[in-house]
Symmetry: C2
C-alpha cells in the first residue's frame, strides 16, 4: 500500500482568506494499492503538478452567493487544475505514460474520472459553469523543449485565459495603450507579452518592487508598484488607455474608467482586490457613470466562453512562441502536496515579495 495524501475542503470561506486546517485540511492518512485498485473502465493517474488559481477561492464561497462557477462540496477532496501521468488504464485512448492536464482531485493518486458529475449543477442558476467539467485532456510530452511546470502557467489555464481574452476582447494594435492590473500574475504575464507582440504600449501594476522588475523584463513600458504610486497618478501621466485588462477590480478599475479613451474595451477577468474582503467593506466604484459617458465596453468573462473559438489557435501558436523564445514564463515551485494548501493561500494573498506563477510539485515522473 502507498500513501495517498490529499486536500479536503472542510468549510466554506466567508469574507476573508481561507485558513489552512480550518477551511482546507491536509489529510495524510489514506492509502492506495496502486497495482490492484479497481479501475472500472477508467485509469489510474499519478499527480505530478498542481496549479493554485484564483477560481479556487470562488469555489470555496457559500454556494448561495452568485458566481460564474459551481462551488466545492464540503467534506470532499478539493479539485483544481493539475498535470498527471497515467500509471494504468482500462480506458480506450488513454495509455500508460500519457501526460494529461485539466481539473483533477488534489491528491497523490486518483482513479479517474473522479470529478465528473461530482457537482449537482441543477442546484445552481442557469449559466453557472461547472469547473469540474474541464476534464483531463492529453497534452504533449515537451521532451525538454520547456519545463513541465509551464503546464501550470503559460501553457495552462492562466496562459490560456490571457490568450483567449486577448484575442476575443482586446485585439490590440500598434499605437494603442493597454493597462494590465496584476501584471506579474500568471494571466498578466501572458497579457503583457501578447500586448507587446502587437506593438502596444503597456502600463502594468503589481504589489511589490520585485514584481515591477519582473514586469519590466516581460516588456512592460510602465510597470509600477500600486502600493507606492496610485493607479490614478500613473494612468493620468501615462494614459489615456485604449484597453484595460483587469485582474483586480476596485481602485484599479476606477482609475481605468477615469483614464480610458472613448470606446475603450475592458476585459474583466478577476476581482482579486476584493475577493477576500467582507461584502460590506468592499470598495465602492465612483466612476461607473463613465461607462456611458465614454461608451466603454466591459466584458466579464471566463475561459470556457472563448474555448471553441480560440483553443485550436492557442495550442498551435503558444508552444511555438515559447520554443522560439518569444513568450516567457516564470514559475514559483513549491515542493510537496503537504504545502499545497498554504500555496493556495499565498497565491490569494497578493503583494507578497516573490514572483512567478505558483506550482506545487507533487511528484517527479
Amino acid at each position: 500500500m502507498t500513501s495517498n495524501p490529499r486536500l479536503i475542503f472542510k468549510k466554506c470561506v466567508g469574507g476573508g482568506l481561507p485558513v489552512v486546517g480550518e477551511h482546507i485540511k491536509f489529510d495524510n492518512t489514506p492509502k492506495i494499492d496502486l497495482d490492484n485498485v479497481p479501475l472500472k473502465g477508467g485509469f489510474l493517474s499519478k499527480t505530478l503538478l498542481l496549479s493554485p488559481e484564483p477560481s479556487m477561492r470562488e469555489r470555496m464561497r457559500d454556494p448561495s452567493l452568485p458566481s460564474y462557477t459551481t462551488a466545492y462540496n464540503v467534506g470532499e477532496i478539493i479539485t483544481g487544475f493539475g498535470l498527471v501521468v497515467v500509471l494504468r488504464s482500462e480506458r480506450e485512448g488513454v495509455k500508460v505514460g500519457d501526460y494529461m492536464y485539466g481539473i483533477t482531485t488534489w491528491e497523490a493518486y486518483t482513479v479517474q474520472p473522479y470529478v465528473e458529475g461530482r457537482v449537482d449543477v441543477t442546484k445552481y442558476p442557469p449559466g453557472t459553469f461547472d469547473m469540474d467539467s474541464l476534464a483531463l485532456q492529453p497534452v504533449p510530452n515537451p521532451n525538454g523543449m520547456y519545463p513541465l511546470s509551464h503546464y501550470a502557467s503559460i501553457l495552462g489555464t492562466p496562459g490560456l485565459t490571457g490568450y483567449v481574452g486577448f484575442q476575443g476582447i482586446i485585439q490590440g494594435k500598434e499605437g494603442e495603450t493597454i493597462f494590465v492590473s496584476s501584471g506579474a500574475s500568471g494571466v498578466g504575464n501572458m497579457v503583457i507579452q501578447l500586448a507587446k507582440s502587437k506593438g502596444m504600449k503597456v502600463i502594468a501594476s503589481a504589489g511589490s518592487d520585485i514584481k515591477v522588475e519582473y514586469m519590466r523584463s516581460l516588456g512592460a513600458d510602465v510597470p509600477f508598484n500600486y502600493k507606492k504610486e496610485s493607479y490614478d497618478s500613473v494612468l493620468a501621466k501615462n494614459g489615456p488607455i485604449h484597453a484595460f485588462w483587469d485582474n483586480v477590480g476596485a481602485e484599479a478599475l476606477d482609475a481605468a474608467l477615469a483614464h480610458a479613451r472613448n470606446y475603450a474595451r475592458f476585459a474583466i477577468c478577476g476581482t482579486a482586490a476584493t475577493d477576500n474582503v467582507p461584502n460590506e467593506e468592499r470598495y465602492r466604484l465612483k466612476n461607473a457613470h463613465l461607462i456611458m459617458k465614454k461608451c466603454i465596453k466591459l466584458y466579464g468573462f471566463i475561459v470556457p466562453d472563448f474555448l471553441p473559438q480560440f483553443m485550436g489557435q492557442f495550442l498551435q501558436e503558444v508552444p511555438t512562441m515559447i520554443g522560439q523564445g518569444k513568450l516567457k514564463s516564470k514559475e514559483l515551485l513549491v515542493e510537496g502536496i503537504e504545502n499545497a494548501a498554504q500555496a493556495i493561500v499565498d497565491m490569494l494573498n497578493s503583494g507578497h515579495d516573490v514572483i512567478g506563477k505558483p506550482v506545487v510539485i507533487v511528484a517527479k515522473e
Copy 2:
C-alpha cells in the same frame, strides 16, 4: 422684419441642474427679414418643433470633463434636435415645404446649414462625437398618419436610441426578463414596447405613480415607482434578469447587477440619476465585482454607434408599426419657444408627475 427669438448658452453647468436665465437665456430681440435674408447657397428653415433631450445636459458641461460628445460654445445659440420646414432654398435637393429633422439651432428661423463646423473637434480627445454633425435630414410628411410631434419622440432620437440599442445589444426573446430604468422616458417608452413585441417579461421603473400607470399601458409586466419600492426589492421578487436597459445608473445599476443572471447583457444608455449631482456626491457602486462573477457584458453606447447597421431598418419598420397601432408614443406638448429653456430643465428633473416625451411647439405649419 420678423421676430427671431432664440436660446443662448450663457455658462457651463457645474454639478446641478441648469438654471434658466443663468445658464440658458431666452433672447427675444433678434429680427430676421424672411424674404431677403441671403441664403448663400443654403436654405431658410422655420422651426416647428424642438426636442429637449438628456444629451443637451451633457453638452452644457465644462468641456474639459470626459464625454461622448462635444460641448456647447458659451455665447452661441443652443443646438438640439428639432423639426423644421423649408421656407426658401438655394440648395439642390432641398425644396420649399420639405420637412427636415436633425440638429438645428434653437431659434424660430435659421439660415441653414448653421451648425456645421461650429465646434472645433480637434480640441477634444479622439473618439468624441460632434452631435452637431447629426445634420437636418428630409423626413416624410405624415399626412395625418401620425402627429408631427412623433418626430421629437418615437420617430426621433429617443425612439431611434431605443430601437438601435435594442437591436444591437438586447436582442431579446420569449422567456427572457428585461429591466428598463426610466421606462416612461422617450427611450424607455420604445424599449418597453420592443421588449414586449419579442415576448419578454418587462420590469420597468419610474419616479411617479402616473408614470407607473403609463408604463403599464405600454405593456410592462412589473411597472414600479422607485420612490415607493426599492429597485433591489422589486428585482429580488421579479428577477433575475437576462437584460438591463439603463437610463439612470446609480442604485438602478447596482440592483441590476445584484439580480442579473450570468451572461446578462446591459445596454448602458444614460446616467440620469447622477447627471445633476456634484462629482463628490455621486452614488458609488457596490456591486461592480459582479461584472466578473457573473460574466456580465456592459455596453456604453450612443446612437451613432449603431446608425450604419440599423437606420434603414428603423425607417422601414417603425413608421409601419406606428401605423398598425403596434407602437405607441405620448408627447407632452409645451407651447412656445419662450418656454423651451424651462422644458429642458423639467426634462432633466426626473420624477415629476407628468408623462410623455416633452416637445416644444415653436410654430404651427
